[in-house]
């Protein structure tokens, strides 16, 4: 197991490095001139040219990338064009909000999706299954900016149960977390149901039932454990979509996280901030996927063995 974990960890820098090239290029290849965006419509072309030089945008791309990499390696992600603050400072300011929002949304998604899916699988076609399946379809198909706005109108404006927007207390977290949780909740719920239905049809479940085990022990201890691998994979993979969803959700709820920072930075062509946030997101998603793989390997000795043999 240790060798497996180490090997997996070693691939991390390679992945991050490869993605950093993509991010760097994607940002540079965005059409539009950041110097012009910065200078504003009233600026003269001389002023635009000077800002261009100041940002080093005139340098060839490989030179710009190497400079970026060298600085990044020493923990310097550059300075925001818009706020003139170090990007690392911006990240440190906003990351806690996104972490809190993402974590809350994730707990909610797993906490509702997994038990809901298990119960739906116990009696396929039953009332709960039909209700839950309908709900999960809604979850994955509704656009979260729309859900967010409707939730604000209902719970903050009309019922006044929860604050409308901003951050500051736990109650501020409720609406954005629910909004962000819906899509992964739907996927996790559907995956849990499908995976459980497969497992529940297996012979050893019949054996367990024949032994006289109660429904809770059968469903949650025996079946769920064997159904977990695909669920955890979905949970891990979905972190990417949560990060993406956070961009929209944070903008709608004026939540001061990385998503809102990113939206503003893209609009202003604030290259250093866009790169910084994108890199942070990549590292987070890569780590989450790794964690998911490790958990699966831990749960399933066959997988651990196979990979450990160096296949």
């Amino acid at each position: 197991m240790t060798a497996y974990v180490l090997r997996k960890l070693l691939t991390l820098p390679a992945v991050v490095l490869a993605v950093s090239v993509l991010i760097f290029l994607a940002v540079r290849l965005l059409p539009g001139d950041p110097a012009r965006m910065m200078a504003g419509p009233e600026a003269s072309s001389a002023e635009v040219a000077r800002i261009h030089a100041q940002l080093g945008l005139g340098q060839p791309l490989p030179a710009q990338y190497l400079a970026f990499l060298a600085h990044a390696a020493s923990g310097d992600l550059g300075t925001s064009i818009e706020s003139h603050r170090p990007v690392t400072e911006e990240l440190a300011d906003h990351a806690p909000y996104t972490l809190a929002l993402g974590l809350a949304a994730y707990l909610l998604a797993v906490g509702v999706g997994v038990p809901g899916g298990v119960l739906a699988a116990v009696k396929p076609g039953g009332a709960w299954d039909r209700l839950f399946s309908g709900f999960t379809i809604l979850c994955v198909s509704l656009a979260n900016f729309w859900v967010g706005l409707m939730a604000m109108e209902l719970f903050a404006v009309r019922l006044q149960w929860l604050p409308l927007m901003g951050a500051g207390s736990a109650s501020h977290l409720v609406l954005p977390a629910i909004t962000l949780a819906l899509a992964p909740m739907g996927l996790i719920g559907r995956m849990t149901r499908a995976s459980m239905i497969d497992v529940l049809a297996q012979d050893y479940i019949r054996t367990a039932r024949a032994k006289g085990l109660g429904p809770f022990a059968v469903n949650f201890r025996h079946a769920l454990r064997n159904a977990l691998a695909p669920i955890i994979t979905i949970v891990g993979l979905n972190l990417g979509s949560v990060v993406g969803g956070a961009v929209v959700t944070e903008s709608v709820f004026s939540w001061p996280g990385l998503g809102r920072l990113l939206v503003d930075a893209v609009g202003n062509r604030d290259y250093p901030v866009v790169q910084g946030v994108a890199l942070a997101a990549v590292v987070a998603v890569t780590l989450a996927n790794l964690a998911a793989e490790l958990v699966i390997a831990f749960l399933d000795p066959r997988l651990r063995q196979g990979l450990g043999d160096g296949r």
Partner: protein, 500 residues
């Protein structure tokens, strides 16, 4: 962290209402440095903390502020300002002639590369202290609207210590009735009443600024009380605000001028008849009614209706599709013509309305909808690039405040042809250039009026652009909020504002 923007009604003292006032706008501040931005909504946030030599008024010429009086020498190049005594910056330092001089020297210093310097660098040659409370400006050319320029937020007097600290981008330092308290980026800006203010104290105890780019959120925030004031409202939510008994709507003619620069270097717009035809084919009243819910002014001149010296010409700026068809036929396009116009995402409905209107006279409008960055690059592209992409026009908006020279010069003077300036259609007419120059320098009001009238008449005839409309400034507030002043263009002035 403070909780989200509910009104904190503190004990009232004195004769004025006290409490915190919260304001929501559609974008956050670009900077805490007034010299390093050009955004109206940033200016509104900075205005309570900074003061200039003169104060803008919603109507009429600027009033004294940090300067109590001023004189212009007979050559109109040397301006001398007497400063108010006993004024201190929030950091405690005295506001005097050397502070004012260094503030303006920094603004016009090309090495400082400040975003707000554009209007001032070409105009101000030198600034120097001529006494402890006397400042002298030497202009490069006579400029009749100099005082109006000095009322702009970019011309605020900044604390020398705040500049030296190197943190003025994040931490404001001025002399205003409110002092900087906190900027939690992507969240809010907080300002507290300046206890040492030289003038009548601000009515509100504190100002809290938040922002959301989602138009419906501004309206929801007004209803929940998260915002006492919200601006700019979109026409849809302005209508609902006006209909809501708990809210009130302030609306006035604005300065956001919409026009389509026509590429005068590219067929078919190298022919003045085609340019005129598009103007006649445009039903401006229908655009204002349909797209702005009536909250706008159909253009009748190349200046906004609130700009001094505007000379509306409804006889020549009118909807006449029959004349448009005749002009197109004369220009050899009786069987129709196809044109490409670059637009931003936000202007899609406007472009589609124009597409339908112009189709009536045989013009096939090819809408090139572009993302913000691409749009900026396309709009400011030089003639060759525009020709290669077939960009016949650029739909754009411009807010000049109330200085006619800041609209006519950047948009229509030969020297402002893109990429150097915002003359996006490369229009060039030496006679109009001379009128613009002469009007900018003319100190006699009647003479300026005559020159600007001539410039506008000639511009309407030469039709370098399709003139569309100006959008009204739409500010929503909760009932009981008083003393909110809105400058033409939508910038809020809140020193006299308070919640009920």
């Amino acid at each position: 962290m403070a909780s989200g923007g509910t009104l904190m009604a503190t004990a009232a003292g004195g004769r004025t209402a006290r409490g915190s006032l919260s304001v929501m706008q559609t974008e956050g501040p670009r900077s805490m440095d007034p010299a390093n931005h050009t955004a109206t909504l940033t200016a509104a946030i900075l205005r309570p903390m900074y003061e200039g030599l003169v104060r803008p008024l919603s109507h009429g010429p600027p009033a004294p502020l940090l300067a109590t009086s001023w004189t212009a020498a007979s050559d109109a190049l040397t301006w001398t300002f007497q400063l108010r005594g006993g004024v201190r910056f929030h950091d405690g330092a005295a506001m005097d002639a050397s502070a004012v001089a260094s503030s303006f020297q920094r603004l016009i210093d090309p090495n400082a590369a400040l975003a707000g310097a554009g209007k001032f660098q070409p105009l101000i040659g030198a600034v120097a202290a001529a006494g402890p409370l006397t400042v002298q400006f030497r202009l490069k050319k006579p400029y009749a609207d100099f005082l109006t320029l000095l009322a702009a937020n970019q011309a605020s007097v900044v604390s020398p210590a705040a500049v030296r600290s190197g943190r003025i981008e994040r931490v404001a330092g001025g002399t205003g009735p409110f002092a900087f308290a906190r900027w939690a980026s992507e969240d809010y800006v907080e300002q507290r009443r300046n206890r040492g203010y030289w003038g009548p104290p601000a009515r509100a105890e504190a100002l809290r600024w938040t922002w959301s780019s989602e138009p419906s959120v501004l309206y929801m925030a007004l209803r929940t009380g998260d915002a006492d004031i919200a601006t700019p409202l979109s026409p849809v939510f302005a209508r609902r605000t006006a209909a809501n008994p708990a809210l009130s709507l302030a609306h006035q003619s604005g300065t956001a001028f919409f026009w389509i620069a026509l590429n005068t270097r590219l067929a078919p717009f190298d022919d003045v008849r085609v340019r005129q035809a598009l103007n006649y084919a445009t039903d401006r009243a229908a655009l204002v009614a349909g797209l702005l819910g009536g909250y706008g002014q159909p253009a009748a001149a190349p200046l906004a209706s609130v700009t001094p010296f505007v000379r509306p010409d409804p006889e020549h700026v009118r909807f006449d599709p029959g004349l448009a068809r005749r002009l197109l036929a004369e220009a050899g396009h009786a069987r129709g013509v196809r044109i490409g116009v670059a637009i931003q995402d936000d202007d899609e409905l406007l472009a589609e309305a124009l597409q339908a209107m112009w189709a009536e006279v045989g013009v096939d409008l090819d809408i090139r909808r572009l993302e913000g960055g691409v749009y900026a690059a396309t709009a400011f592209a030089p003639p060759a690039a525009k020709a290669a992409d077939g960009i016949g026009g650029v739909l754009s908006s411009w807010s000049s405040g109330v200085v006619p020279d800041l609209q006519l010069r950047p948009l229509f003077a030969s020297a402002s042809a893109a990429p150097a300036g915002a003359n996006l259609g490369f229009f060039s007419d030496p006679a109009i250039d001379r009128l613009i120059d002469a009007a900018a320098g003319a100190s006699d009001l009647a003479e300026r009026g005559r020159l600007y009238a001539a410039a506008q008449r000639d511009l309407i005839a030469a039709a370098p652009a399709v003139l569309l409309y100006t959008r009204d400034d739409l500010v929503g507030a909760r009932r009981g909020v008083t003393g909110v002043e809105v400058l033409p263009g939508g910038e809020l002035m809140l020193d006299g504002a308070a919640a009920a």
